[in-house]
Every structure is written in structure tokens, then in C-alpha cells.
């Protein structure tokens, strides 16, 4: 089964403030004991709002850049 690509949390930078989980509309980010945990879900539409709101730049929603084959 292929893994769904999800936002990546840098636990060194994460302070567990929960802002990311508060803006996540698909429930992919939850704060458990002050640590953000990512739950794999296809509902994540890569809105990147979690990355945008993080005050510590602890979340990465990276893009793979590819050239369309013709």
C-alpha cells in the first residue's frame, strides 16, 4: 500500500503550541503531550496552512517539482 505524503514536523523546533492543529481542517495534526503528531490521511489537500501559521517554522509542506512529460 502506498504511503500518503504528509506534512513533516521537525520535533526539535516544535514547541507544541497547537496552532497548526487549530487551523488543520482535515484532522491530520494533533497535539499529544505537547508534541504535534501527524496522522496519515488522504483528506489532507496540501493547503499548507499548518506551515504558514507555525511561528517556529517547524512544519514543512514540501513540493516535488516535476516537468510534465509530453
Amino acid at each position: 500500500m502506498s504511503k500518503t505524503v504528509m506534512p513533516v514536523v521537525d520535533t526539535e523546533k516544535c514547541r507544541g503550541c497547537g496552532l497548526c492543529s487549530s487551523v488543520c481542517s482535515c484532522g491530520a495534526l494533533v497535539v499529544i503531550e505537547n508534541v504535534v503528531t501527524v496522522i496519515e490521511t488522504e483528506a489532507c489537500g496540501w493547503c499548507t496552512q499548518c506551515e504558514a501559521v507555525c511561528p517556529n517554522q517547524a512544519i514543512s509542506c514540501g513540493y516535488l517539482v516535476i516537468i510534465e512529460e509530453r
Binding site: E51, P55, S60, Y63, I66
Partner: protein, 223 residues
């Protein structure tokens, strides 16, 4: 929950005030809660409230005539929004909406004016905060007016496009902003513009270059 003095101390406008002064100001502050997507400020409406974010995140945005949303900034805990119109009395320059559940402190325009009159040090704090905003906006103006950013974004995308030598690292909008020397919000706008003109396609976590030649032309024209 009621308004907390500790939170009021964090509001940049009230920096340097003693506890007694903050206790008096507390009576003029109202707590407000909002849920995801709730519109807190509407562009062009009369100014009513200055807001301070206690928890959660608020996006501040402008809407174009075609209904497109342009995020100007994100107000996180510790920051205020809708300040400008509260001080100058002109219509709200931008809208603001809750990005998730938020708790805010709201101060009406009249109350903010009386606070400034009663506590002169607040006036100096206001000048400091607004001067910081002007600096930030000046850097955005520079990017938007010279239209170089979209060319720089085009160059980054071409440089990072996967080739036969293997995949390149994943790029975040923050990475692109750092590389292009601009704000993340400007990168988002550039990517949207490129997508709208059909040069790229945003496919969840992939940016697909649909028209390599058009992208290369943008790089050339920005030089």
C-alpha cells in the same frame, strides 16, 4: 474566560504600563471567540474594533474585484490586527477571518482613543508598532511593484525540477521565499498566478511544470 492581565501585558501597545493602569484598561477590553472561517473584519466596512490574538491564527486578506483572495499576513498569538483603520478612522483596509478556533481581545475604536489620551506612553508604543508595519509593507511593495519575484520563482522551479539524475529535494513555500528573498505570502501569490496562466499545475504536493518554455521566458524577462 475573562480578560487576563498577563495577556494584556503582552499586547505591544500596552508595553511599560503598570498593573494598576492595566487593571483600568482591562475594563475596556472584551474577549471574543470565533470558529474556523468566521469573518472578523470586512474590508471597506467602518472601523469598529482593534483585535489582539490570544490563541489561534487569523488571516488578514484582501479580495480582488474577481473575488480572488490575497493573504496579506497571518496574525498569530501576541499580534494585533485592524489597527490602521481604528487609528485613522478610514474604512478597514483588509478583511480578517479565523483560520481555526480563535480567542481574541477586542478594543473598540473609542476606547482605544481614550486609552491613548489617558496613557501617553501608549501613543509612543502605537508609533513603534505602526512603524514596524510600514517597514514590512515597504518590503512587500518593493517585491510586488517590480514584478521580479515571479521570475525568481520561475527560475527556482526550473532549477529544482526533477530530471534523469534523480529527484531533487522537496521545496516548501518557505524555502522558495528564502531563495527568492521575499515573503512566503508573495510566493503563494506567484504560484497561484503561474497556475492560473497554465504554466504550472499544483497537484497536491507536486508542482507540475506544464509549460517549461513559458517558465523560461519569465526568467528571461525578469533579468
Amino acid at each position: 474566560m475573562s480578560v487576563q492581565i498577563e495577556q494584556l501585558q503582552s499586547i505591544p501597545y500596552f508595553s511599560g504600563l503598570d498593573l494598576g493602569e492595566l487593571e483600568s484598561i482591562k475594563k475596556l477590553v472584551v474577549e471574543k471567540q470565533a470558529s474556523r472561517g468566521e469573518l472578523l473584519v470586512l474590508e471597506d466596512d467602518s472601523p469598529e474594533m482593534l483585535y489582539y490574538v490570544v490563541s489561534g491564527a487569523v488571516k488578514v486578506f484582501k479580495t480582488s474585484a474577481e473575488g480572488k483572495e490575497q493573504i496579506i499576513g497571518i496574525a498569530r498569538p501576541g499580534l494585533t490586527f485592524n489597527d490602521v483603520s481604528v487609528f485613522d478612522g478610514e474604512p478597514n483596509p483588509a478583511s480578517a477571518a479565523a483560520m481555526g478556533p480563535v480567542v481574541l481581545y477586542a478594543i473598540s475604536r473609542d476606547n482605544m482613543h481614550s486609552i491613548v489620551r489617558d496613557y501617553p506612553e501608549v501613543a509612543l508604543n502605537v508609533a513603534t508598532v505602526l512603524a514596524g508595519r510600514v517597514r514590512h509593507l515597504l518590503s512587500l511593495v518593493e517585491d510586488l511593484s517590480f514584478r521580479h519575484v515571479i521570475g525568481r520563482v520561475a527560475r527556482i522551479l526550473l532549477e529544482y525540477a526533477g530530471d534523469k539524475q534523480g529527484p531533487k529535494p522537496h521545496l516548501t513555500q518557505q524555502d522558495m521565499a528564502a531563495m527568492a528573498g521575499t515573503a512566503r505570502e508573495v510566493i503563494g501569490r506567484s504560484l497561484k498566478a503561474l497556475e492560473e496562466e497554465g504554466t504550472i499545475r499544483m497537484d497536491r504536493h507536486q508542482i507540475v511544470i506544464a509549460d517549461k518554455e513559458a517558465l523560461a521566458n519569465l526568467v528571461e524577462s525578469a533579468v
